[in-house]
Amino acid sequence: MKKIINDPADVVRESLQGFALAHPDLVTLSLDPLFVARATPTVRGTVAVVSGGGSGHEPLHAGFVGDGMLDAAVPGTVFSSPTPDQVVAAAHAVHAGAGILLVVKNYTGDVLNFETAAELLQADGIEVRTVIVDDDVAVRDSTFTAGRRGVGGTVLLEKIVGAAVARGDDLDTVHALAERVVGVVRSMGVALRPSTVPHSGEPSFTLGEDEMEFGVGIHGEPGRERRAMLPADGIVALLLEAVVTDLPFAAGDRVIVLLNGLGGTPLMELYLAYGSVRGQLESRGITVARSLVGNYVTALEMQGMSITMLQLDDEMMSLWDAPVHTAALRWGV
């Protein structure tokens, strides 16, 4: 394992210290317990949006803290959820009198810890709603699994919900919008090479030169199947087929596409794949109204990508276009 780190046990804290030093206009860092909050207080009387989860997915979540998106982000250790007391402390720090929306990706650990935190906050007299993001179509959603994972859809949801909060929507309205976004967003990913978690030093799985892991998760969890490596157009076709047929997306739909790198794929390849996505969606009669290409929900240095599609209505489109100013997303300001 070769990584630019000091002690593996200090990676998350040291990374966030650097992040806070790089973006003092946007965020403040609490070290004990560990969380990142907006540098400017949440506007009094508006809902505060708090998210979090394992580290190693940067810029998720701290990179999306700022105006028009998250009020606080709570990092766990690498690929492991934060603890309830971190979530509770972050929520108290940003609560502005109108309640807290917790954005939680559907992993057993995240759900359990945020659930516990929500109970503790309610006991403190703070109104809390939770939205569980579960957009990964690679996982069969049934009683035989923990349910679909939350992946790239999280970024789109946090942006749209953050804009709704900025215009003053109340907690129930924001929560209903978040649930509506979850209903129309789908993702699927592929890995060409695994990542190595700093504290273990071993790759999370092994792949041959001619293999790809199709339907991979953002922690290196194996996906639907291992397949023979294909050219970009073939990989995109497989991912789109899975995503499009799931909702399903249909001819005439307007969508946001997030073409997301998992941390180890050059932008050259991501843009190449994006071109392929545009062509293939066009031939399906689906209009890409907005798009985002880059590393937004990563899995350390995993080589690969994911495609997320969100079926837009007019309200979501205007919320997407609303100003945002965070370390990883910025427009309209």
């Binding site: 359990l112 810890n113 699994t145 273990s200 290196g220």
Partner: protein, 206 residues
């Protein structure tokens, strides 16, 4: 011999030592069907527990168990934090303020721990989780307690059953937790949570 606050502290120290000893093995098991941090997460939690045991100690077994529970919940994260934390918390609640525990009280505490984990994690026997080990442990503990077993004997019976149950998770297909994403590919590996549960019970038994 009964079980008082001091012997509970010794048992917890032994559990922490076992977690340290099996840390790499548990992490390796988790890497096969999860995300490879189970040993690291438990080791972080139990080393924090050891730190707490150096301070002022509660005077009852229940107080010690509660201290373990809150420390695990606030340091482990992942699924293991709330699940093991809930197990110790429910065990603490079950034994109440008693200064000493007999065999039946230990079995009752284990049953409460299992019920708490089932309620939190919503897993059932056969899902390939720590519930498989805990469920078997509780049945064995209750039998041993009913037969007049002392606390150490009750825990030893629980550990034996949990060890067997952990091995029995190998042919199962995971239906809860991150391993469930693997579907059939989770077959052929022991569940890391069931395995750590067995190790911890073995250590608690002394």
């Amino acid at each position: 011999m009964t079980c008082d606050a001091a012997s509970t502290v010794s048992a917890i120290r032994a559990a922490a030592a076992a977690v340290g000893e099996y840390r790499s093995e548990l992490t390796a098991l988790d890497r096969e069907i999860g995300d490879g941090d189970h040993g690291e997460n438990l080791a972080r939690g139990f080393s924090a527990v050891l730190g707490k045991l150096d301070g002022d100690l509660p005077g009852t077994p229940g107080g010690v168990l509660k201290l373990v529970a809150t420390t695990l919940i606030s340091t482990v994260g992942g699924a293991s934090g709330p699940l093991f934390g809930t197990a110790f918390l429910r065990a603490a609640t079950a034994v109440g303020d008693a200064a000493e525990l007999d065999g039946p009280a230990v079995a009752t505490a284990l049953a409460a721990a299992r019920d708490g984990v089932v309620a939190r994690g919503k897993a059932e026997p056969g899902d390939k989780t720590m519930v498989d080990a805990l469920g078997a442990a509780v049945r064995a503990a209750q039998e041993r307690a009913a037969a007049g077993g002392r606390p150490g004997e009750v825990l030893a019976a629980a550990a034996d059953a949990a060890t067997e149950a952990a091995a029995a998770t190998i042919p199962m297909q995971a239906r809860k937790g991150r391993a469930s994403y693997l579907g059939e590919r989770s077959i052929g590996h022991p569940d890391p949570g069931a395995t750590s549960t067995a190790y911890i019970l073995r250590a608690l038994a002394g």
